[in-house]
């Protein structure tokens, strides 16, 4: 293994990861500086249940009409994010648990995951370019983030077998993209996963308190019995 690859896999990745963590920390501190008002009404439901329901929304494709109408879009979402997890895991497995990628089945599984995510990424890029509504709202960051992820997946597929003895360049490219991603993510829309728990928390808390989420089912009991 060359010194360049060793540094990329270790020091640079750790430095980039630390940078990401520090920026996220500042981001959360900044967010908490915005005021949060106290709720003054009697509850009609449970804020806690609402939060749990809202957080679990991602795993309940039946819960939102928008997803029910477009099940393929949800499948794409799942594939894409499994691919993201596989590619990110690879950046840790390769330097710190290389033995795992000696198992051919694991390599194939990871390559398939990132490969499928790559295809979804390309579909998403096509959708963003071809749909006028999406084109109108898309910024350069939206395109760059998606292209960066596509490149990350592509590099991951080639790098995952971890053949540094014979073919080092795919690994160098993969880890260089990883380092860049880690630095870029908190400033781009890829950082949305940091916000996801917060948006779902606030929405779930309000909706749960008001008895809107979880969605009521047809039943014989009504709110007439509760303390309105």
């Amino acid at each position: 293994m060359s010194e360049l690859l060793r540094i990329l896999e270790n020091e640079i990745q750790i430095a980039a990861l630390s940078f990401l963590g520090i920026v996220y920390l500042f981001r959360i501190i900044w967010l908490f500086k915005f005021v949060y008002h106290k709720e003054r009404t009697y509850p009609a439901g449970s804020a806690r249940t609402g939060v749990i329901y809202s957080m679990m929304n991602v795993a309940m494709p039946w819960a939102m009409e928008s997803v029910r109408k477009k099940p393929f879009f949800y499948v794409q979402f799942v594939i894409f994010h499994i691919g993201v997890s596989a590619a990110i895991s690879s950046t840790f497995i390769i330097p710190y648990w290389p033995g795992l990628f000696k198992v051919k089945a694991v390599v194939i599984l990871f390559q398939l995951s990132t490969g499928a995510a790559l295809i979804v990424g390309l579909l998403r890029l096509f959708r963003r370019l071809s749909n006028p509504a999406l084109r109108l709202i898309s910024s350069l960051d939206d395109y760059a983030s998606l292209i960066l992820m596509i490149l990350f997946f592509a590099a991951g597929i080639i790098a995952i077998p971890n053949r540094y003895e014979t073919d080092e360049w795919p690994l160098i490219v993969f880890f260089a993209i990883t380092a860049f991603l880690l630095i870029y993510v908190p400033f781009s829309k890829i950082g949305h996963y940091l916000y996801y728990p917060f948006t779902r928390y606030f929405l779930g808390k309000t909706m749960g308190h008001r008895g809107i989420l979880p969605r009521k089912k047809s039943k014989t009991t009504t709110g007439a019995d509760s303390n309105q």
Partner: protein
Amino acid sequence: MSDDKVDTSKVVNLPLETKTQKKAKEDRLRCVAQGQLKLYDPKANNVQRFIDLLSQRINRPIAISLLACVHCGMCADSCHYALARPADPTMTPAYKADQIRRIFKRHRDWTGRIIPWWVHARSPASDEDLNRLKNIVFGMCSQCRRCTLNCPMGVDTAALIRMTRGILTELGIVPEGVFNVSRDQWETGNQMAVTEEDYLETLEWMKEEVQEELGVPEVDIPVDKKDCDFMYTINPREIKFDPRSIAHAAKIFHFAGESWTMPKWGWDQTNFGLYSGDDRLGAYVARNLYEAAKKLRAKRIVISECGHGYRSTRWEGYNWADYDQKIPTESVVITLIRYIKEGRIKVDPALNPEPVTFHDSCNIARSGDLVEEPRWILKRVCSDFREMHPNRTENFCCAGGSGLLSMAEYRPLRLEVARIKAEQLKATGAKLVCTICHNCVDGLNDLIRHYKLEMKVVQVLDLVANALIVPGKEPSFQK
């Protein structure tokens, strides 16, 4: 269904009308003099004021909603504007929210401050830009919150729209209709400028009507009676245009043996602060009502059928007014359920034989908590109840929500996008559409006329009053 298409590029550029603002200034209205109602000042640095107000008003949930949108476009499939105008990308909720998001990014977000062109961050350049923003947030969104519940990230676009409306209201950059109703509510305590004399006379008139109808002189509509079980609050529209609903309520309360009252002041449960985004107005109106209940030592507050009134009084008002809820605050729908369950009133569904469907008000289904409750009643007072689809929290807006009925300049677009609702209504085959919102009554009536549907809009109180079994009276009496 009509195919007329509105040119939204013209709607976006509709000018700011300030005639009534000038008149309010000339008339030296109290609310203007005291700085409650803000007027447009063309000489002021409105752009900077907008940016300053934006920074002041962003709270944590709003900040998160401004940051979290990933531009996936899923919201387009949930918005009746976008569904009715699929070829118009400016109708996408994310696009509308981006008009405020880009200002936030330019002034508050790290990336947007350093490389604005990379993330579509942009500051408004002039009052014309603010006026365009006004036309988007007031004229192209009914804040129905359908996109919010359908956003995978949980972005509350309706809350962003309301906040933006509030900032523009503070600058006087508002549609005339919004200005006028806000003025009336500030000046008179109710949004239709009903005088105390008119209010009391109408209550007296309705009392006499019910007494005559039932032949029961004991029926009363008490005003400012202390220590009652509840204080009943209404929509000024009931006084001005539809006092029958008050008569229906009085009749039902009488047979239920209820101890109730209406307040002389603080009776308006509607709140234009919800629509204009003006939390100060919202707090003022809500506080009037809560204080009236306190003064009368009422054990609870009952809100007549009104979507935004229910949301404002039951949920938002306490928070706007920084007023801890002390007594139960419920919709009259809940009161009616209690009467039926406790056997205090008897109803006969055969008295409402026509097919009835139910329209969920956005402010109640997606921002309140009543979806099964009105259905529980309808299934007991109507013999042919039919659901419309989608329904409950997924129901479509009547297209007249968020004060759009008061903004005449946006009516053509409102009626065009009401096609989605019209199709929903038509598919039910019902003759009556019931709703628990006065605003929806007007919105639905408007679209029913426009799309020539053979339907009539009713409310739960109408149907319950009609199905009421009056002791010792023949059913034919009940009309």
